[in-house]
Amino acid sequence: MSDLLRIEDLHTQFHVHGGTVKAVDGVNLTIPAKATVGLVGESGSGKSITALSIMRLLEKNGGITGGHVWFHDRDLVALPDEEMQEIRGNDISMIFQEPMTALNPVFTVGDQIAEAVRLHQKVGHQAGLDRAIEMLRLVGISDPKRRAGQYPHELSGGMRQRVMIAMALSTSPELLIADEPTTALDVTIQAQILKLMRNLKGEFGSAILLITHDLGVVAEMCDSVAVMYAGRIVEQASTEELFASPKHPYTQGLLASIPRLGKRQERLHVIAGSVPNPLAVPPGCAFRPRCPIKAARSDRDIPALKANGSAEHLVACWQYE
């Protein structure tokens, strides 16, 4: 498979009161065409900022300070604003965590999907609306004609997320970035939305970058996974490989802390300590203060992401040096 998106040594920083936060600190990640790649990590690990950096949708106090994002043969980091605007929503779409607030409350959902289409294709209002109804049908909304004339507040959370997906896919993008698409939904709806995304991916042939903190979602959806910690990717592998033999102590800790049915446990495993203060990340490996192994050199130097075992399994930890 050819690579659709290749992130090279991406750095994104934010200027906040009290200093500079290195939210993304040298991320390398490749998304093959038509693949589903998971990006996991806890809150504040930089996964959403990575996504926003790809889209160049960072707030004014932040910016990309280094690296490249190759989309086909174009570097999105260096692209002029107008060209980037053309790519957004057309070649790369994004869906957000909160379906309740991500739709404009004063327009009907049909209008909003039609707008997404008309931003990138020279079609009339009616053609846009027809496409909207077609998309609503594709995302499994019954009576799409009537729903297209309704306002967001008249739809339930699950339906709104379907509308968001319809909007994001209406231009058949090559890459869909889904930032915690199911976090705000209840479990049954979550399963339906994930199933829908899987089905539509087959239909539209889009690659998906799925950002989540839910390893269950990853196991269900992704071909490969990257685990992020404090702005860096610490481990990357195919989904089976990562779940079968996690190599980084952080990944091991994450997997061990998932409660399992049918297994008696006195107490759930927890990773000791907490995420480092983003304004004062310790030197060396950022995970060291919480690490059970504390390999030599990890107090001084940051470990690089290197192949370990197979060429596809990458891990950044000194214990394997």
């Binding site: 957004r88 929503g89 991500a102 404009n104 409350p105 931003l119 309704q150």
Partner: protein, 333 residues
């Protein structure tokens, strides 16, 4: 809106108690969720309500507000009379009848509200004056919306140094002594003119709407749907006009409505001081000019009529504004 029947108690109608209802296993719609929340009420009984958009619901809420609806009717009559009647009566307002000055009101059909010191028909003058008041009120508010709305939107959306610069500029405008500006501009442009009044009011009074608009944009630009629109490839201009502006309008409409009455009173005050439209053209303000003289004479009506017209119009506009406020934001009540 659909009436919600009282909830039946006891076992829910339809479905055995304890059984998992099948609507939980499929995608739930709002109708179904309502059905779950209110067992016994069929979804289609409620289905009539949700098809309405924000603005149509607001109109319905406004019409339920009796005082505001009444005020709107009165205002409608005033506007209609001010627009239509002077067209029919032509220059009646300026025809002087020296044989019948100070004719008392309600005495003859020819001059229902009597005549003034020069024998001009008081009713014709009142309605002609209404035109001036309403025109100044509406045009100056349009000025407020263009200047204040535009600058406020830019300041709130872009923030940073632009916001700082525009807000300091607003501070300067706020500290301008309005009357002195009117007098200075009138002197500089060589005479009292209605256009001067409109421009000066618009140029010095827009700051309230400007600040309101800025506040709205500051809040709305952080909303997720704005970021979603950006992620879809919408330009800044498109986001400002299509995505943020419609969401920001509600308080702006209220403020603009209340602004009209404020401007009408301001114009009357200027007219009273002789700085609005020059005679023989009547305005409610300059009809009050000989206030003291008339109030203590037998011709009190020459003060009472324009003053009443002024108060009723301003009050009606304010009540309509309050009605709109309640209709657009029911939480504020």
């Amino acid at each position: 809106m659909a009436q919600v029947p009282p909830l039946p108690f006891g076992p829910a109608a339809g479905g055995l108690p304890g059984a998992v209802p099948d609507h939980l296993s499929v995608e739930t719609t709002v109708d179904q969720e309502r059905a779950i929340a209110q067992p016994g009420v069929k979804a289609d009984e409620l289905a009539g309500a949700p098809e309405l958009g924000f603005w149509r619901l607001a109109v319905i809420r406004f019409l339920h507000h009796r005082v505001a609806t009444g005020a709107l009717l009165i205002l409608g009559v005033i506007v209609l009379a001010a627009v239509v009647v002077p067209v029919i009566t032509g220059n009646l307002y300026s025809i002087q009848d020296y044989r019948h000055p100070y004719k008392a009101p309600f005495q003859s059909l020819q001059h229902i509200l009597g005549t003034d010191d020069l024998g001009r028909d008081e009713l014709a003058r009142l309605l002609r004056g209404a035109r001036v008041s309403l025109m100044v009120g509406i045009l100056a508010v349009v000025g407020y919306l263009i200047i204040g709305g535009g600058l406020g939107a830019l300041a709130g959306y872009y923030g940073g140094w632009l916001d700082n610069a525009l807000m300091r500029f607003t501070d300067i405008i706020i500290s301008m002594p309005f009357l002195l500006v009117v007098i200075a501009v009138t002197a500089a442009t060589g005479g009292v003119r209605l256009s001067t009044v409109i421009i000066v009011i618009a140029a010095t009074g827009w700051f309230e709407i400007g600040r309101l608009m800025r506040a709205q944009f500051l809040v709305l630009r952080e909303q997720e749907f704005v970021q979603a629109a950006r992620a879809l490839g919408a330009s800044n201009t498109r986001i400002i006009i299509r995505h943020i502006l419609p969401n920001a309008l509600a308080p702006i409409i209220v403020s603009a409505t209340l602004g009209v009455s404020g401007i009408i009173l301001l114009e009357a005050a200027l007219g009273f001081l002789g700085y609005s439209i020059p005679p023989p053209e009547p305005s409610w303000g300059n009809m009050l000019q000989n206030f003291e003289e008339y109030l203590l004479s037998d011709h009190t009506y020459l003060v009472i009529f324009p003053a009443t017209a002024l108060v009723i119009t301003a009050l009606a506009i304010n009540l309509v504004g309050d009605g709109i406020r309640d209709a657009l934001d029911p939480r504020q009540r």
